[in-house]
């Protein structure tokens, strides 16, 4: 819709000490208005002016645009000790102006962005890092206490929550775990096969895929998927509960959030992760077999026979144990970020992001440490 406006004009007439402003035209948001600078400059420079009057006979429609201009004129007037006579303005404008000046501006509310010295920034960073570690340890301590309560049979949470969480973390995650592990097995087989085929040793693809999946990749990939899928979900759920004061409500009803919210989630993940890991191993091996059998002239029977020879029970146990540890770490970081969440929408986003980042960092650190230990122990 195109509406035509009367052109805005401001005529300034000076009669001795009085400045008369005649406003004309449609003074609305999408109109072009004349610059106020000459007028404001005149008010600043000409100290003989002590009064300002308006005439608005030719003023058409007006809205916030006129109001902001008037406010600038009035403020400058107040600053220069010029009396601004508002009585000839339309009633609506007078009413709005009285509202604007009804509550004086809170000067102490204004914020001044001061540039902070770099030393202060480093100090702040160090302090918040220490704070971060201490809050992590606090959370860990509270978790241990609530696990203690669980062992003594005193932890209070709803069994149904545990089942819902198991459903969410386990069966619902199977499709994505299937897809990713299958493809990882496939890729692993391809990468190794090209080298091994040079020596006619295609059959060893079975060893490589089998050991690679069970000891390392199966559990690791499952953990990465679950940190994105479940860790972030935990953080977002608990964070939103924090925003809605639901966690406060639980506290007032005498529940410990650590037991009521964190325990069922952690238990669910600890129960489910070994199974997912085992499943991921299997899918990877099937993926590997597809490549080996399809492209490198090895029969299905040979492949699985070779795999069965290559993998020992201890390999499986190492992989599944690692994955259980990852499960604890995912639940811990997800829940911790959720419980630490602030009370706004953006804080929930931050909580989910930092949950995934924390999960992955923890998983990689834990994985390297455990691999090193296994290597030293010779398992």
């Amino acid at each position: 819709m195109i509406t035509t406006h009367q052109v805005c004009e401001i005529k300034i007439v000076q009669q001795e000490a009085t400045l008369a402003l005649a406003l004309a035209g449609d003074w609305v948001l999408d109109a072009d208005t004349p610059s106020l600078e000459p007028l404001l400059k005149q008010m600043l420079k000409d100290s003989s002016i002590n009064r300002l009057v308006f005439s608005t006979d030719a003023l058409g429609r007006w809205d916030s645009l006129l109001m902001t201009d008037l406010i600038r004129i009035i403020d400058r007037g107040a600053h220069e000790g010029i009396e601004v006579d508002l009585s000839t303005l339309p009633e609506g404008i007078q009413g709005l102006l009285s509202l604007v000046y009804a509550v004086p501006e809170r000067l102490d509310a204004k914020r001044h962005d001061t540039k902070r010295p770099w030393l202060e920034l480093i100090g702040d960073g160090a302090i918040s890092a220490v704070h971060e570690v201490s809050s992590l340890l606090t959370f860990l301590g509270e978790t241990v206490l609530s696990v203690g309560a669980l062992v003594r049979g005193k932890a209070r949470f709803r069994m149904i929550d545990l089942w819902i969480n198991i459903q969410d973390c386990g069966p619902s995650a199977v499709p994505i775990i299937t897809l990713i592990s299958f493809l990882i097995g496939l890729i692993l087989a391809f990468v190794g096969a090209i080298q091994l085929a040079l020596f006619g040793a295609q059959i060893y693809i079975a060893d490589m895929v089998g050991l690679g999946m069970t000891r390392e990749m199966g559990g690791f990939m499952a953990a990465i998927i679950m940190s994105g899928r479940t860790g972030a979900a935990f953080a977002a759920q608990l964070g939103t509960m924090q925003v809605n004061s639901e966690i406060d409500a639980l506290k007032t009803m005498g529940f410990k959030p650590m037991e009521f919210l964190v325990l069922p989630r952690m238990l669910a993940l600890i129960l489910v992760m070994p199974m997912l890991c085992f499943y991921a191993d299997l899918m990877g091996i099937i993926g590997g077999s597809l490549v080996t059998v399809g492209f490198f002239d090895v029969s299905v029977l040979e492949y699985f026979d070779r795999t069965a020879d290559a993998i020992h029970l201890k390999d499986l146990i190492v992989g599944v144990t690692k994955c259980s540890v990852f499960g604890v770490l995912i639940a811990l970081s997800g829940c911790m970020r959720g419980m630490q969440c602030g009370r706004s929408a953006s804080a929930v986003g931050k909580a989910a992001t930092s949950a995934v980042v924390t999960c992955i960092v923890f998983i990689v650190i834990a994985d390297s440490t455990m691999t090193l230990i296994c290597n030293r122990l010779g398992v």
Binding site: D63, M67, E91, L96, L99, A102, V103, K110, S344, A345
Partner: protein, 265 residues
Amino acid sequence: MTPPCLAIKNMTMAYGDFIIQKNLDFTINRGDIFIIMGGSGCGKSTLLMHLIGLQRPAKGQVFYGAESLWEADIDVRRRILNRTGVLFQSGALLSSMTLAENIALPLSQHTKLGAMRIRQIVSYKLALVGLAGFEDYYPSEISGGMQKRAGLARAMALDPEILYFDEPSAGLDPISAKLLDDLIRSLRDNLGSTVVMVTHELASIFAIGTNSVFLDSETKTMIAQGSPKQLLSESIDPKVIRFLTRGEMEENGLHKTNSQEHSES
């Protein structure tokens, strides 16, 4: 005759097969402070959603002037809705932005104003609602009442012709609620805009309402219409009377005639 500011014609609201309200038929005139009232769960807020273009009526029309909101194509609807401003129950300020950014958002999206101009308008709007100087605060750093007023400043950013309020005084102390009422009335008086308000705050209803519609959840339709004071003195519907007197007439065993005398005295 100029068409009324807003007209609802034979509207039915429903979630799927579940009918919330039916046969709604009323008009809102320019300059009205129009109250949508009724008990909890009768569909007041749902009606508001239909008026501000968030939900499509199952049947019937919403006319802004002569234009039907839901039959218009998307651009026309956008333009109609740009002439309205909405204050949601909790303020609904975007929590990741400061108050100034919240108010500047519609201005920078829907007008061609420069940054300086927008800053001036933002300060003016904040001053109007008594929050001068709070430009750089985040919504989480100010009180609930202040959030509500900041929400009002955002709703008014584009100088709307129609202002919608969803439970403006909910969660405010009586004095703040009164101040908000006064603010709404003086904005209406000075800006010449129309106000549509969902509320069950009796004090507000009688203090500032000039016209109203009463929704009933049992019969699923509107059972009374008119200025709240007039409804109190003239309505013969027991549900309306019970609502407008907080059920006290009934408890005291007073009858219709008494309530009339009561309100006239």
